[in-house]
Symmetry: none
Subunit: 418 residues, 2 copies
């Protein structure tokens, strides 16, 4: 089955000049991907007649579905509407229903209308008017030669509402959507090329209709399996068969599936086992606590943390021995062990995690250069430590330490299980 | 003067399918805008031979400078490198220097290489090899017919380093850039339209060749002044004159200029006065500590922090009275005052900052709905508090609390000065 091909066009000088980040195109991609529409291109053009018309023409060549955001404001530099009329060869005329909608929008908000706002109810005569309940610029739907176009405002929540209320429900009525099944395997603690090497035999034996993509990000690699076919249930089963084959090979790196994050995965582990967590963060400076507490409901297992940024507080708050700090230094296996044990006790937690390292750019030495980090995980009857040799970049060192600390907990946890 | 026209091409199925958000193109736009290069188009294409080649050809038609990100991984679906070779009509060959760089990159990290990684040192013979010091995929620079191309990895920090170390310094040597002077005024604690209203007379009197842009972001608004002319020194003086006029009007909202952040501004204030800081974070969960410690050298003024996520630790670690928690609750002015005073004492700091609130999505009540947050700043002889009424979104509430806490310190600080 041939997939419906889509192009997303974002219009506005502010996008090209970096004044506003285009989050719309990303969101639209995700929604289209879920329903099996293949986005083949994203284009961003400025408020320029020739560029916009050229983008329309190129998109019509490439795609069956063209989704346009932006350029619908009431001011003169907003060109999308007149250019759509020009492109489709019709006039901009009054749509009484649209004028009425804009008028009542202003009335509801208790705001006064300008003549420019009334013109927002004037639309190309060849479009289908799509009401925008949360803003003043209507959606416009066009059909020509078996291709479908939708123009939407650039304001994200207005665009999303038009997508959810109109575009996504309309699509299955006008185009043939495929049967598609996605599953993403989330891994941590292994690089993309190492992972590829480990699973190359499995990858080479994947059936034709199941595709694999590697999606690396800071310390993580996602493996996305996408299956195409006729029957969703069958595809799901086929993907699950492949997952059962690959998991044993990469078991120790897998922390979850689909939208799961390392933070939510760890939260689930802790919650299911009724265990609690406390953190002592030196070089990571609160970043791990932040990650853990972004998860709704984390108060069920997160007791608290200490960031003893100065060594004296590693002693006074966490009970690290001054002898340990003197003999081995703050960035040492011995210190992170005492920090992890100390914070575990302070917060009466099942697991105590700690970090201490040279985040940089200063503070490095020949023995302990910038990027040297020790981390520890303490439990009732065990202590695990790791030494990391990270980068020259402070922010990256903080982030990579965060991933490593959470991953260490995951590994300690599976090792202890109950 | 004719501006250099640029196109940014992002390559990768993961971008089209919405698995990864393309933040690179946005960042590149901002950097090009600063040096007076006009971005005329942003294009995103998938890992598809014909689409990538078509994008190259169209970009060469439209632009003088083509910046490409992504598609440079070691795996088979990464097509950028062979297609650049094909497009420019040359072979992919071994660059001994690049192979050496990849090899030593792995050696430094203490990680083993795969044969795929060695191939990352093989590049189109017609490119200039640009070393990537922070990753394994090199940059590639091409010149043809007076047009310039740069291919960079999609990993944001690698791309940024190549832009900063190579592309931005190289541009003025190969193309004519306009004389432009930018200065950004950083404000916090006031909305865009309120700010616009305050400074409208000043704005209306700006000279023709100095433009103003409002760049709002989470809790902040940046005011960017851009002056166009012939002489950089003159432009700088003219902008400074305007800044001296506007600052008195918006004084209390301004925390810095240009790349300064609220974190670095506060660091400067503390460092210059020889004062120290400690944090007690409940609802912000470590986020403020993270912000403070992203600043290099923050150990000079940051003593440490406690995240007492459970109420019992507000008592046992910070010394909040159980009576206070019982009577007023954890989310109350009284509690944050005791938290701020307690953490100030625990870490022997000049300033103690605290937060406690309902981040959501659960935990709200009629009296204290989701988004209710109390913050406090304690000094030797003063205590300042604020109540915030934020949003329904947990992540947003954490971030906005972070901005508000740091801003409260800024205000307390200026009020105490010495």
């Amino acid at each position: 089955m041939k997939l419906v091909r889509a192009e997303i066009i974002a219009i506005g000088d502010e996008l090209l000049y970096g004044q506003i980040m285009d989050t719309n195109s990303h969101w639209i991609s995700q929604e289209l991907d879920l329903v099996g529409v293949k986005v083949v291109r994203k284009t961003t053009v400025g408020d320029n007649r020739a560029d916009i018309l050229a983008a329309f023409a190129a998109a019509e060549e490439r795609a069956d579905l063209i989704l346009i955001t932006g350029g619908l404001g009431p001011t003169q530099d907003d060109l999308t509407k007149p250019l759509l009329a020009e492109y489709f060869g019709c006039e901009v005329v009054e749509f009484p229903q649209a004028v009425e909608a804009v008028t009542s929008f202003f009335k509801r908000r208790g705001r006064e209308m300008t003549p420019l706002n009334i013109l927002q109810g004037h639309l190309p005569s060849c479009c289908t008017y799509v009401p925008n309940e949360v803003g003043t610029a209507p959606g416009m739907w066009f059909e020509r030669g078996g291709k479908y176009w939708m123009s939407m405002p650039g304001v994200p929540h207005e665009m999303k509402k038009l997508m959810k209320d109109f575009v996504l429900p309309t699509l299955p009525k006008v185009v043939a959507l495929p049967v598609i099944y996605h599953k993403v395997i989330k891994t941590v603690g292994i690089g993309e090329s190492w992972l590829a090497d480990l699973i190359k035999d499995w990858e080479n034996n994947l059936p034709e209709h199941i595709r694999l993509a590697y999606l690396p990000s800071l310390g993580h690699v996602k493996l996305r399996l996408t299956a195409f076919g006729d029957n969703l249930k069958t595809l799901e089963q086929e993907v699950e068969v492949q997952i059962r084959l690959v998991i044993p090979i990469i078991d120790k790196y897998v922390y979850g599936f689909n939208s799961e994050t390392l933070e939510t995965a760890i939260g689930k582990l802790l919650k299911n086992a009724g265990k609690t967590l406390a953190l002592a963060e030196s070089c990571s400076g609160g970043y791990v606590s932040h990650l853990v507490t972004t998860v709704p409901g984390s108060s069920a297992y997160f007791q608290g943390s200490v960031v003893p940024y100065h060594n004296q507080f590693k002693e006074s708050v966490l009970g690290v021995k001054s002898k340990t700090l003197e003999t081995f230094g703050a960035v040492s296996e011995e210190t992170v062990q005492e920090m992890a044990a100390g914070v575990r006790k302070l917060f009466n937690a099942d697991f105590g995690l700690s970090s201490s390292g040279v985040a940089g750019p200063d503070g490095g030495s020949e023995e302990k250069p910038v990027g040297t980090v020790w981390i520890a995980c303490a439990g009732e009857d065990f202590m695990e430590t790791r030494k990391l040799q990270l980068t020259q970049d402070r922010m990256l060192n903080i982030q990579l330490t965060g991933v490593a600390v959470l991953n260490l907990l995951r590994m300690c946890f599976s090792r202890k299980d109950k």
